[in-house]
Amino acid sequence: MRTPGLGRQVVRAGLIGATAIIYCAMVGLIEQLDPRKIVGSQLSIAGVLFLGLPPIIAAYVATRPRQVRGEEVQPGIGEAALAGALVGLIVAAITMAAIGLANLLGIDTTRNIFKSVSPTLLGILYLHRSAVSGLAILSVVIVLLGAFGGVLRACSVGVRRPIVIGLSSVVGFGMLQRIIPTAMDQLGLPKAWLYSTTYLGLTWFGAVLTFAVAAGLTVLFMRKGSQMQRGIVWMTGGERQARTAEVIVLVVILLLLPFVAGTILSQILGSVGIYVLMGLGLNIVVGYAGLLDLGYVAFFAVGAYITGVLTGGLLITTLGLKAPAFHGGLSFFIALPIVILAAALVGVLIGAPVLRLRGDYLAIVTLGFGEIARALFTSDWLKDIFGGTQGLTKIPAAPIGSLDFRNPRTFYYLVLVFCILAAYIAWRLQESRVGRAWNAMREDEQVAEAVGVSSTRYKLLAFALGGAIGAVGGALFAVQIGSLNDASFTILVSITTLAIVILGGMGSIPGVVVGALVLIGVPGLLSEFQAYQLLVYGAVLMAVMILRPQGLIPNVRRTRELHEEERAQDKWAGDLVGDEDVVAEPSPLGEGSG
């Protein structure tokens, strides 16, 4: 090891990688996700994500360039490969030790405490062979993957990026196994060459082809990308027109999507759309105005329940269905403005008492309001209106003429219209005087007040607007599922929406869409993930905040704010310590999306 400090990094990365694998095994992720194959019959999601990825990432991080006496030193390929292999060795050794320990204590004893440590899990870790040969192969693979991670880090960007994008595409295409084959069927294309009919994932041929195409395209784009961009601008006749053309293409794709995909996808997209709306609404409150609202479910509930009552939902009682105390027979589109007004009013009511509260207190108090809303809507006290814990049912499906919005495809279009509308409103707001006032208020409330921005007015406006958009999401939810009960309005709605906004990037409209697609779409596609959805949300919230607080698709201004203080700190620490490695390396994931 010629690079100073590399040894310590290797040990650390090895320990962390091993912890990751053991953690995934113990919470049951490996066992639950093993049946879902990505490539052929061998590579499952569990194998790729929870056994293969940890050593690669650990080795990649361990061999990153380091500051030594003010100079950046990158370990060479040979050294990186060796270091990576060592990381893999440590990971493998500790994992094997853990498996040995579980066997030593007896699987039944261990299972009494940790329910996921089961013979099935061991079978998966033994690669469905005998214990000795399976574990030997697994160890060798882990060591090789570690070496691969080290080599990947030491390569130039020109080699690294195509490989990373190619491999990610294979995993991505493998995970889309419920969409792409269906779409190919709909279009009348043969699919057996790409997706295996027995294991559902990609065939080995398909995987290699996917990798080659993705990597090839990446190379092409890296060499000719700027030329291609210029070409598009030239064809459409200017930057502005090129942007418009992009938007038009995007909208056309969105409109055609349900025709290509099946019912399942349309249904998932409907749910994604509802959360896009919610995310856009919360983004106004959190992203624009900087008010962390953890009680956003209140608006969702207001939207859903008021829509339910106004359009004629029925109460479930022990004596059968019954009309609630207020029974409107309004059409959805007449009820909607009332819902929006009610939600805006609720927004002001929630906002008013908390105007003077600082960030973290505001969060807890709004969380309280969310719980209060749920407790009220589902209480026995208001049972005659909202149906208590049983809730409402038989909510009509928003008829216009003969259109039935409970059909997933039609519903998708309904949601799409509202999403586009909300995105447009959010975008215009961001660029407007109001948006600038929110910016000012978020950055420094007292200074904003001093230059004449009424924080009272703009905070209430943010709560009202955000609430109104969230309530539309709730109203659509009521239409989509047709019956409401207390299980749909827990704090998790607020947290899910927050995770979407955070993952996408606070203040970023495309970020909300990406966030919703990832956090709602992926669990929808891979039903095995659903039990671990919340675990993933928690991990996403933590990881984004620690590694990339600006989110996947950052809003420029927000990024600057989130890093300002940090950068000042780094500089200060750097001056003090001098030659230690204080300059933080951007996360390995940051590269592809930048």
Partner: protein, 368 residues
């Protein structure tokens, strides 16, 4: 709350303020709110007492239950207060630290129960159970600090809070993955089981409640002694007052912060066992509601103050057990305990509106 911002309107703006703007609206709304709430409380309790729905012994049970519940809240609230004191952040995941303590000790408790040790030697067994819970909670708290909070020590305020929410969700679902969603019966030694009572000062109480109240008192006493008398306690107070100056005075800030998390974890572990034995069950979701309630308690008592957290816990426990039947029955609201979260959070909001520093805290404007 004119004292909150301290910013005077600029002269030009002041000149253009009309008569309405000069009225102290906030003051008026506050007073109206105060009158409304007082009326609600007085009328509600009067009508409830008049209707004689509950007899005296039921009220007494409510009070004792409230005190025991308050003891648990107080111990968790201390964790919030300690961490808030040194880091000025709400450790949202503290409820989960408490849950892990309860779960960790559960396995020892069941093992002892099935081997008979728990009933043969209840004092020793309970001591070990408490110790295990404290150790587990303490390690989770330390891990949380190291992994989730330390990298963000200088980040803008919302960033650690969001991380803490993520950590809470993550820990909760880790427990779900490790141990499954089902509730497990927490074993209680026979001498403490539900129908056994002690009579102290003429009041008959369930033994388990006596144990809960006593351990809470001992734990709070130990903590205050530790913080006020030892050198480490002094360094915690110093870091709470000013982190930078404390570090210039030769205090290892990182270690002090770790110590704070460790103390909070130890107390949460004690609370975990108390909770398990009082309610007789543990499952991965037991941390959330007590966590929020304990946070409310620490704000109620004055966040940053140890005595305040203890007092706030006690008051909140009482409010939650006595409040719903006392206030809501009078208005003929069915199943009043369903609306317990409404009471908890209303208390939190009202404290923040009327006395943001809490009962024992100072009204320093930075807090809210």
């Amino acid at each position: 709350m004119a004292n909150m911002t301290g910013v005077q309107p600029a002269p030009a703006a002041a000149a253009s303020l009309n008569r309405y703007a000069r009225l102290p609206w906030r003051r008026i709304i506050q007073i109206a709110l105060a009158i409304g709430i007082t009326l609600f409380v007085v009328v509600g309790s009067f009508r409830t007492l008049q209707s004689n729905t509950y007899d005296a012994s039921t009220w007494k049970d409510f009070v004792i239950l409230g005190v025991a519940q308050g003891g648990i809240y107080a111990l968790i609230a201390l964790g919030y207060t300690l961490v808030y004191g040194v880091l000025r952040m709400i450790n949202f995941a503290h409820g989960e630290v408490f849950m892990f303590g309860a779960f960790g000790s559960y396995f020892f408790a069941t093992a002892y129960a099935s081997s008979g040790f728990l009933n043969r030697n209840p004092v020793v067994a309970l001591a070990i159970i408490f110790l295990v819970a404290m150790l587990v909670s303490c390690s989770v708290a330390l891990l949380l600090e190291r992994v989730a909070y330390r990298p963000l020590r200088n980040a803008p305020r919302l960033v650690p809070l969001i991380t803490a929410i993520g950590a809470s969700l993550f820990l909760q679902n880790t427990a779900f993955g490790l141990w499954g969603p089902q509730a497990r019966a927490y074993p209680v030694p026979n001498i403490l089981s539900g129908d056994q009572t002690w009579t102290i000062l003429g009041i008959t109480m369930q033994r388990i409640q006596v144990v809960v109240i006593l351990t809470a008192i001992i734990a709070v006493a130990c903590l205050s002694l530790f913080v006020s008398k030892t050198k480490a306690g002094r360094s915690i107070r110093a870091v709470a007052q000013d982190r930078e100056i404390a570090s210039l005075m030769g205090i290892d800030v990182d270690r002090t912060i770790m110590l704070t998390f460790a103390l909070g974890g130890l107390l949460a572990g004690v609370a975990g066992v108390q909770f398990g034995m009082t309610f007789g069950q543990v499952h991965p979701y037991i941390g959330f509601v007590p966590g929020i309630a304990a946070f409310t308690a620490s704000v109620l008592g004055g966040i940053g103050s140890i005595a305040g957290a203890a007092l706030g816990g006690l008051i909140l426990g009482l409010l939650e057990s006595v409040g719903p039947p006392l206030l809501l029955t009078g208005f003929h609201i069915p199943s009043p305990f369903q609306l317990k979260p409404v009471i908890t959070f209303s208390v939190l909001v009202l404290v923040l509106i009327f006395r943001p520093g809490g009962i024992l805290g100072s009204d320093e404007p930075d807090k809210v």
